[in-house]
């Protein structure tokens, strides 16, 4: 048996960690979301729902939240569309090159987020690589303005950044499918396409759900890509939170928005987990 002291020594660090860096900030944020700011720029500890009412009343807040969700949804779809075929190819077709290709997919994860975002800036800008090329081959006369500082740029960058996150769980799910099931399907007369739709896809659903959750949740809370590449039209909800906690000095409203996002994200994670369990068989 372990001594009481040993048990305490082992349990204490994680408990302290969670208490200090998770529980306390969330409780503080929860409290803040009911407080308000006085005209003299001090925090007033009055408990009311005004911040939540503002969130619904002021167009820019809920519209930005909706736009953020729409951007995140597009990122999710594009990430899945890219990641699934990639994972499928790697798992079923790559053969000996599997390990190498896997590394190639994962390597971008080791590259700094900022570097990748800036890379897109140099590609999409008016003097960027893409516009220069388009004019050079005379496809366009003037630089295309919508490429940079637009929701398009944000979706593109976030898709690039979060596709590996969608890829990993899908790849893991595909790797888990016993290959004799694929053989059994062919044996029973199913063509490769029928085998995909009837066996491989249904059995990889948990991976797809996990990948989609990653892509959606991570891009919903992103603030660097919209900051660097979004321009005024590509602003996302996190940028508003950042400014509320910064220049605007309205911590209570910022806390209320953050809390709404937290509830949204936690709900999503729970939902996708439950759905994933329904689709998992072992």
């Amino acid at each position: 048996m372990f001594s009481r002291g040993y048990k305490a020594a082992v349990t204490l660090p994680p408990v302290l960690w969670v208490a200090l860096f998770l529980f306390t900030p969330y409780v503080l944020m929860f409290c803040y979301s009911f407080w308000s700011v006085s005209p003299a720029q001090t925090i007033v500890h009055s408990w009311d729902l005004n911040n939540y009412k503002d969130l619904l009343r002021v167009d820019v807040y809920w519209q930005t939240l909706l736009r953020s969700m729409w951007i995140a949804a597009r990122v999710t779809i594009f990430s899945l569309l890219l990641a699934y075929p990639m994972a499928y190819f790697l798992s079923f077709q790559a053969g000996k090159r599997k390990d190498l290709l896997y590394q190639l997919v994962v390597i971008p994860l080791w590259v700094s987020y900022l570097v990748r975002a800036y890379a897109w800036k140099t590609i999409l800008g008016s003097d960027g690589v893409l516009n220069t090329l388009l004019q050079y081959v005379h496809l366009t006369r003037h630089p295309l303005e919508f490429l940079l500082y637009s929701p398009f740029a944000v979706v593109l960058t976030l898709t690039h950044i979060y596709t590996p996150f969608a890829f990993l769980p899908i790849y893991a799910a595909l790797e888990h499918i016993p290959r004799n099931l694929v053989e059994a399907s062919h044996d029973l007369g199913a063509t490769p396409a029928q085998t995909f739709w009837r066996v491989i896809l249904p059995l990889s659903i948990p991976g797809v759900l996990a990948g989609a959750t990653f892509a959606f949740v991570l891009s919903l809370g992103d603030f660097l890509a919209p900051l660097l590449l979004g321009g005024p039209s590509g602003i996302m909800i996190s940028n508003i939170v950042v400014s509320l906690f910064g220049a605007a000095y309205n911590w209570p409203l910022g806390a209320a928005i953050s809390l709404c996002m937290l509830v949204l994200v936690v709900g999503l994670i729970f939902g996708s987990e439950r759905l994933g369990k329904k689709w998992s068989f072992s």
């Binding site: 099931l181 053989e183 399907s185 044996d187 063509t191 029928q194 249904p202 059995l203």
Partner: protein
Amino acid sequence: MGLTTTSLSATATATNSSAKPPLLRVRNLAKRFGKNVVLRDISLDVAEGEFLTILGESGSGKTTLLRIIAGFESASSGELWMGEEQLGRQPPYRRRVNTVFQHYALFPHLTVEQNVGYGLRVARRPETEIAARVEDALAKVKMTAHAKAKPSKISGGQQQRVALARALVNRPRLLLLDEPLSALDANLRRQMQVELKSLQREVGISFIFVTHDQEEAMVMSDRIALLRSGELEQVATPREIYSQPATAYVAQFIGHTNLLKADVQGGIARCVAGAWPVEAADGVALFSLRPENIRVISPGGVGTAGGVRVRGRVRHQAFHGATELIRVECSENLALVVRTSSGAEAMEEEIELEFSPTDAVLVRESAERI
């Protein structure tokens, strides 16, 4: 003996190509994985409605042969014919061959019913026909009660039956079974052997059954193809393979046997055990002598005329229920295993043994290969 002759002649007509062409013809099939030769020069016929067992140790290439017939692997050379068509060029989903996999390979996301209906559904049969045939197939394997269950909720033996129903419902011309009983415990296994055999007779589909269990092969098969290191040692009925083993390996692999190395000179074979007339060329020859073909002569008893007699000391006894196997040391380099039913022999007792020269079967020495 009457039984032996009838079953022999029955298979002889079944495999006789002039009466009815064989369902499957394997011709000079070989398979290499890189430098590793897994199968070499396999030629084999499977008759319509036949139960053929491919028997071999692990690594003998038996599963590879089955996978080539199913279409999961392609042969390095050789041909595979089903009737008038070359099977080798068709993908597995075009072959009228179905497989029962070693670990059943049931689709975990589909119910028992949907698993069985899978083949018909991908073939786009009408739903009413699918429902009727699935019901029929499930009834045949006594799984109707579990139609709506997921595979993870039923036992191994039941999964086995579902796998069988899933394959048979498509009415294949040939059913391949890859060690389907190996995951079951001994009792269930024996029961399934009987059920499988009677099911095969009922549906009349040709079965190719792969196993490493010689007893299973003997009980179920019309014919056994014994595979060793990628080559066929012998293809024959269970009785023939037991009583007339072609090689020393076959004799040892199937049942117990004594291998006698004798020197043949002018039609007489001589070894430590004795001498007897034989029809063989001069030189060293190997004989297989089954333990049950050796009799213990009771003290003072008289042997049979023409029998070969040898004395020895009982060194080991193993009780097998109805019979007992005793190991009798006759000389420094000869020990005979004898099957007795009396249990009267005591350890270290000196006894006299006798066998008939006709029971010593001349076998080829199998070349050692790795």
